[in-house]
């Protein structure tokens, strides 16, 4: 390990850490955030929501299970830099096909290992998430700190346009199973299934898979699609996806969503949840260091049951700003931030966390079924559909 190339991580507030390079050699700038999930680094790397961010894993041993073809959450790596305590060159897992280092190298993503990640996390916890640079080509800490300071940051930036699809497409692959891998939906099943149009702000594949396995036909649209373009498909329901950076920087998305509100049942996750909030006229704000992990307790305020959730967001909806337009449905028990909205008199619901998991626990997957019930009830009950089905769910929730 002593023969490895040196690298440095420098933060905008002047703190820097020395480590060793892995993955691609080079330099990268972005907001440094930490993720507390102990498994699922491949899913994290490929989550488009991390665009513009340098991700530090709090779990210290990374690379242990390698990389495989099944665990990617999108078509490529989206993190802009990767920070770990110890990178393990030799993976051990029956599904592993490649090392993490090689994967990052091929993706051109700069990684750094040998970092006191716990010290970094403690720093971010007290000083907030901030811009940083990882470099394996420049070892001048002062210069790197200057570069970090000069970085534009995430506030007010539209990174969605860098990750969304260019053209609409159909999706037909469902959940993963151990013995058989991914299950492709049968054509005849799809033909009779209700149609969900999913707006791709940076959508994770597992959301699409969950939608298929819940029994939908799925059409994915680019983020900039207008309300008219969306409604032109005459969907049975509309899904708003996760995605990167600042929800306030996406006026086109707010307009489109405002234009479909009330017309079709809507389900939003993460950025989709924030866009819904903004489309309703609410406000969003940036959290100090966000929620990134797989262990956050969230309470469903109606049932008072707690879900252990997967989380990945740096911005949040100010639920106070939505009084009268939407009801707070879920609460984060750690810091009491809002985690879910339910329309009052409008058939939509949304959550800030990730019921599709991947990585993370599956406690919240009932929400996909709720979406299906909502879609089924909507033609009959219209604006009251959500209240009807939520009341019916009762004990079936999990």
């Amino acid at each position: 390990m002593s023969t490895k190339r040196e690298a440095m991580l420098a933060l905008a507030d002047g703190r820097f850490f020395r480590g060793r390079a892995f993955g691609a050699i080079g330099e990268t700038v972005g907001e440094v955030v930490f993720n507390t999930a102990m498994t699922g680094y491949q899913e994290v790397l490929t989550d488009p929501s991390y665009k513009g961010q340098l991700v530090c894993m709090t779990y210290p041993e990374i690379g242990n299970v390698g990389i495989n073809a099944e665990d990617a959450e999108s078509r490529r790596v989206f993190v802009d830099g990767f920070i770990v305590k110890e990178y393990l060159e030799r993976p051990s897992n029956w599904r592993s096909q490649m090392t993490l280092g090689k994967y990052l190298e091929e993706a051109g993503v700069v990684g750094i290992e040998g970092i006191d990640t716990r010290a970094l996390v403690r720093h971010l916890r007290t000083h907030g998430a901030q811009e940083a640079v990882i470099s394996s080509i420049d070892s001048d800490s002062a210069a790197l700190v200057r570069k970090a300071k000069a970085s534009p940051g995430l506030v007010g930036r539209d990174l969605v346009k860098e990750v969304t699809c260019q053209e609409p497409y159909d999706w037909d692959v469902g959940d993963w199973e151990l013995a058989s891998g991914f299950r492709r939906a049968k054509k005849e099943t799809l033909r009779d299934a209700p149609l969900v149009v999913a707006l791709d702000y940076g959508i994770k594949l597992n959301i699409l898979r969950r939608l298929i396995s819940t029994g939908f036909r799925v059409k994915v649209l680019p983020a900039a699609s207008t309300a008219a373009q969306i409604l032109a498909y005459n969907p049975d329901g509309i899904f708003l996806s996760n995605g990167p950076a600042d929800p306030a920087a996406l006026p086109y998305a707010h307009r489109a969503v405002a234009g479909v509100l009330g017309k079709k049942p809507i389900f939003g996750i993460c950025l989709g949840h924030q866009i819904l909030g903004l489309a309703l006229g609410g406000k969003t704000y940036k959290l100090d260091f966000g929620h990134h992990g797989a262990n956050h307790p969230v309470m469903d305020l109606r049932t008072r049951r707690v879900e252990i959730t997967a989380q990945n967001h740096g911005f949040a909806v100010d639920s106070e700003s939505l009084k009268g337009r939407a009801e707070l449905s879920h609460l984060n028990l750690n810091d009491k931030t809002g985690e879910g909205l339910r329309g009052t008199g409008v058939p939509f619901f949304s959550v800030q966390y990730h019921p599709e998991a991947s990585p993370g626990p599956h406690d919240s997957s009932y929400l996909f079924m709720r979406f299906k019930r909502l879609i089924e009830a909507f033609p009959r009950f219209g604006a009251d559909a959500l209240d009807r089905i939520v009341a019916d769910e009762g004990a079936e929730l999990r």
Partner: protein, 1068 residues
């Protein structure tokens, strides 16, 4: 859903004596539960026969019963106390089994006592292997193909269906008792028969072997509202086939992707819901086929377990404490996380370090035991280590074990490489206590990861880690030692001592160069959350990295060194003392710091001290803490031999040692200095000599006179101590001893045959000496004090003799300048007092004495060591109880097939129980019952004693006959009994052929066995003792024990059996 208002009192059952498979982790969990429930204002009734536990301290529960843990006793206690509920899930398998018995016998219904935590159907569904299997299939989970057998005929049918190899798992036993893997037919039949015998329900599960699959465990918690969280995942380094208690385990799981981990998590949630464990923690074990990921469910424990103790320590999430709260109505989200305070316990801990647990074995204590690991647990303790990487935690764990290892030393004898390689292949293929060292040796010699995996089925990830560690040894040995050197190798877990070994130099030289290079450990917190939130409990571990996040405070501190992994001779009793020291000194205004590496203990609960360092107890690790904390003093006398060994080096390094000086400790330990002191004080000790080498020993022994008692100096628990009858045996012993340890001389003492042994515990503040208790041993001198039963107060010693013992104890305490605790072992021989041993430190008997006399001796001793006077504390006179307390020992012989059960000077017991009552006889009977020796009330008693012992036979034989027992004996003994005018049936010795005594035992004709072995210890008497053990017949191998048993039986037959709480005994 907060606290249930309908519950006012709760009965909690502990786990009884420490045995293999059930150790002090249940004191840890039980103590947490008791504290948590009392904080809720509930009246707590506690039953546990083990006096060495913190939970049985009379101030902890409202009512504390140190009584035998049987259906009858529990019924009496329930009848008396009328608890609203019984919490059966924090006292291990013992508590769970008792709860089942109580429920099935209708006792709980009769007294309106509700089972909380887990109700009967759930317990049965989890515990009954067939019901469990059906439940798993119902929810679509795979289990190994298996079938239940209740008889040999069943087993044949199962064999035909499944084929070998097969695993045999008896139902409802703890620590896998009676479990085995059968690879051949004969083997299979014998093992099934054995398994059936071991199962209380006479039931075994015979299951397809998934040997070699990866093994995982999840710790799951559930509340009434059906919220479920996973507290911790654990991956076993040793694959399936080795009992998880004997496996090296790592947290969190290391070789699962998220998709695979979530499948396991989903399964765990489904399982706990299907089984219907209402609230609390459960442990679920899974096996995964390494090449396909296919997952099968192995088993579930619907209760707090050894693994949950480990998971609690590994994550900072106190499972038992929270389980107790859940059982009385709380929801997970209503309970705050102690460590972060701001966030709730309803979450899943995430950790940013790696935890490694390595079991500690004591095969060397049992001659004839084979060092092979399988489905039946054999380890007696464990060490846990925390590091930022697996390599660091693994090497820290190795040096925490205290087996003389400071890293991956080679265990290869000087041999040619080819021979070694062939030998190593075998050693790696067969799980044993040293397998990981063999793996390291093989990797050193160039074995590939693939081959190592093929042989061992240890996951390649772990093999690589070991390969990385040994792969840099050449560089560690040769490269210049600057900052870069230490910054590279210390984070891999290399200890200074291991570096010194590799460089053939002294540890001190490495340490000083490391310091000169400015490389010191930093300390990080265990905080449940990967640093996402602030931690308020300083639960710390060392690593070599950038930031130290736990700067010491400016308070006045006392540092208490714990005992490390449990082993025979050093266990829970010492942890008990450390805990008391910490609590007392906290109260006394000190900041207390505990250093320990045993995850099972109460002392490593972050609640016990102000700062907990979960660290190995080596000089390097301890001095690093002492140097930064700069304590007012360090307590080394409470944790047993482990910290005691550090006393002198720490003192030399300028660390202040509290209490009795290290020099005084050395005066008591060093034979020459000790002899000088004893003779100067005009006291007596058995004539003894110090021998170096064989010739020296032979002349010495002849001078002392046979039989002699022989042992190496500086040992605890009578390690390798033997009574030697003649020169031939002496030659054998000395030759062997010199092979294993040539550095220490041998002590050869006259063996006072038939002497009465006495233990005295005392406390001194340097001014006055107060006797804690005088304990008269039941067995004669020659049986290790840790193994013999004893009574407090003494039953046969005259007042004069007791005064003499007190006088001598005072004299020795003053001479040594004892400040704190002291224990002296005496032998009374021919009316005279001989000193056998002086230990100026906490002894194994401190908790027993404290419970017997109702005085917290360890607490007072800690205060005294920190400068208080006994007069200030108010303890200035001995307190002699009006009742009698008897301590009895329990033994792990059942785990070691082929090992003799005979007692001797080497300690073999794992734990102890206490019987307490108005008379010695009843107290002894209770202690026997508690040690699961069921004294019979009628039937045929087999007696076979050696010639020397025949003089003691008369009262025993008469007593038995008077009470209506019949006697049966072999030739010599039988003749002797008849000569006493008693009837006695004759039976063949085994060597005389069938039908012989062992046949009679197997036919169920024998109710009790009294068998003292003749000098040669023939195979004959061995098979009798072994059969008695396997048939669970009460058996006595000493005349003193037999005599006490007869008295006990008489008491049981003639006196009412009463239960009484400790609080009633000690109400002044």
């Amino acid at each position: 859903m907060p606290l249930r208002k309908d519950l006012k009192s709760v009965l909690l059952i502990g786990s009884g004596p420490i045995v293999i498979g059930q150790a002090c982790e249940f004191d840890y969990s039980g103590t947490q539960a008791v504290k948590a429930l009392r904080e809720e204002g509930l009246r707590l009734i506690l039953v546990n026969s083990n006096p060495a536990t913190i939970m049985t301290d009379p101030e902890l529960a409202d009512r504390t019963y140190i009584e035998p843990m049987t259906l009858a006793t529990l019924t009496k206690i329930i009848e008396r106390e009328r608890p609203d509920a019984l919490l059966p899930t924090v006292g291990g398998q013992t508590a769970l089994n008792l709860a089942i018995e109580l429920a099935e016998a209708g006792v709980l219904d009769r007294f309106n006592c509700e089972l909380i935590g887990a109700r009967l159907p759930a317990i049965k569904k989890a515990e009954d292997r067939d019901l469990f299997k059906q439940a798993m299939l119902k929810i679509g989970l795979e289990v190994p193909r298996s079938a239940i057998a209740h008889s040999a005929a069943d087993a044949e049918r199962v064999l035909a269906g499944l084929g070998l190899p097969l695993i045999i798992r008896p139902s409802r036993t703890l620590g896998g008792t009676g479990g085995s893997i059968a690879r051949e037919l004969d083997d299979y039949r014998a093992k099934v028969a054995y398994g059936l015998e071991q199962s209380p329900s006479h039931e075994v599960l015979i299951e397809q072997s998934v040997e070699g699959w990866k093994e995982f465990e999840l710790e799951v918690m559930r509340d009434f509202a059906d919220n479920v969280v996973i507290v911790c995942s654990i991956e076993n380094l040793d694959p399936m086939g080795v009992h998880t208690g004997d496996s090296i385990t790592v947290a969190p799981a290391q070789t699962l992707t998220d998709k695979e981990y979530q499948l396991m998590r989903d399964a765990a949630l489904r399982i706990i819901r299907e089984i219907g464990v209402d609230t609390g923690g459960s442990n679920i074990q899974f096996a995964i086929e390494p090449t396909t990921g296919r997952m099968v469910v192995i088993e579930m424990n619907p209760r707090v377990s050894r693994s949950s103790a480990l998971a609690s320590k590994a994550t900072g999430f106190p499972i038992a404490k929270i389980a107790a709260r859940l059982a009385v109505g709380y929801r997970l989200d209503e309970i705050p996380n102690d460590i972060t305070r701001m966030t709730p316990a309803c979450f899943e801990p995430t950790i940013d370090y790696v935890v490694t647990k390595i079991p500690r074995f004591t095969f060397e204590k049992f001659r004839g035991a084979i060092d092979e690991l399988g489905p039946q647990m054999k380890s007696v303790g464990e060490a846990m280590a925390i590091g930022r990487t697996f390599k660091e935690s693994l090497q820290k764990a190795l040096r925490s074990l205290e087996i003389g290892s400071s890293g991956f030393e080679s265990r290869l004898p000087e041999q040619s490489r080819a021979q070694s390689f062939a030998e190593l292949r075998k050693l790696i293929a067969m799980p044993s206590s040293y397998r990981l060292y063999h793996l390291a040796d093989a990797l050193r010699l160039g074995m590939s990861r693939e081959e190592a995996f093929d042989l061992s089925k240890i996951d390649g990830w772990f093999i690589d880690a070991v390969a990385d560690i040994v792969g840099v040894e050449q560089r560690v040995a040769k490269e210049p030692m600057g900052e870069a050197f230490f910054r590279e190798f210390k984070p891999m877990g290399y200890s200074d001592r291991r570096i010194a070994e590799l460089r053939a130099t002294e540890e001190s030289s490495i340490a000083s160069q490391r310091r000169a290079a400015g490389v010191l450990p930093v300390y990080k917190s265990v905080d449940t959350c990967g640093a996402e939130f602030e931690a308020f409990t300083p639960y710390l571990y060392s690593t070599y990295e950038g930031e130290d996040e736990a700067p010491p405070t400016a308070r006045k501190k006392v540092m208490i060194l714990g005992g490390g992994p449990n082993r025979i001779g050093q266990g829970i009793e010492f942890d008990y003392c450390c805990v008391h020291a910490s609590l007392a000194l906290k109260e006394g205004g000190f900041e207390t710091i505990i250093v320990n590496c045993n995850p099972e203990t109460v002392s490593t609960d972050y609640d016990i001290s102000d700062r907990l360092y979960f660290e190995p107890l080596t000089f390097e690790d301890v001095i690093a803490i002492a140097e930064r904390e700069k304590p007012f003093g360090v307590i080394v006398q409470f944790g047993g031999q482990t910290p005691l060994k550090l006393a002198l080096p720490l003192a030399r390094a300028g660390v202040p040692i509290l209490g009795t000086t290290p020099d005084a400790i050395d005066r008591a330990e060093d034979r020459e200095r000790f002899n000088e002191m004893v003779s100067r004080l005009g006291l007596k000790q058995p004539h003894g000599i110090l021998a170096r080498g064989l010739d020296d020993a032979i002349t010495g022994a002849a001078k002392v006179g046979y039989p002699v008692l022989i042992r190496p100096s500086y040992v605890l628990g009578g390690r390798a101590m033997e009574v030697i009858p003649n020169e031939e045996e002496l030659r054998r012993y000395v030759t062997l001893a010199l092979q294993t340890s040539e550095r220490h001389p041998l002590l050869i003492d006259r063996y006072l045959q038939g002497a009465t042994e006495v233990d005295v515990d005392a406390i001194s503040d340097g001014e006055i000496v107060v006797i804690g208790g005088i304990m008269e041993h039941v067995e004669h001198a020659g049986v290790h004090s840790g193994d013999s039963a004893c009574a407090l107060p003494p039953t046969t010693l005259s007042a004069e003799l007791q005064q003499e013992l007190i006088r001598q104890t005072r004299m020795l305490a003053c001479e040594l300048g004892v400040v704190g605790l002291m224990n002296i072992q005496y032998a009374i021989f021919g009316g005279e007092v001989f000193i056998l041993e002086v230990n100026p430190r906490a002894s194994r008997t401190i908790p027993f004495v404290s419970k017997a006399i109702g005085v917290p001796l360890a607490k007072y001793a800690a205060l005294v060591m920190a400068g208080k006077k006994l007069s200030e504390i108010g303890f200035t006179t001995e307190r002699v109880p009006s009742h009698v307390a008897v301590k009895e020992s329990v033994f792990p012989f059942g785990r070691f097939p082929g090992v003799d059960t005979i007692l001797g000077p080497e300690m073999k017991s794992t734990g102890e129980v206490m019987g307490i009552d108005a008379t010695f006889a009843m107290a002894f009977a209770k202690a026997s019952l508690a040690a699961s020796s069921n004294l019979p009330d009628s039937g045929l008693v087999f007696i076979s004693v050696r010639d020397d012992d025949k003089q003691y036979l008369e009262p025993i034989a008469h007593g038995l006959v008077q009470m209506g027992f019949d006697l049966i004996a072999t030739d010599g003994t039988s003749r002797h009994i008849r000569s006493l005018g008693l009837r006695c049936e004759n039976v063949n010795k085994v060597l005389q052929g069938s039908p012989h005594i062992v046949d009679a035992m197997k036919q169920g004709r024998i109710a009790m066995v009294i068998n003292t072995p003749d000098a040669s210890g023939t195979q004959d008497s061995f098979s009798i003792r072994r059969t008695a053990l396997e048939l669970r017949l009460p058996y006595f191998t000493t005349m003193a024990g037999a005599k006490a048993a007869v008295e006990g039986i008489r008491a049981l037959k003639t006196q009412p059996f009463e239960v009484r709480a400790l609080q009633d005994y000690h109400r002044a």
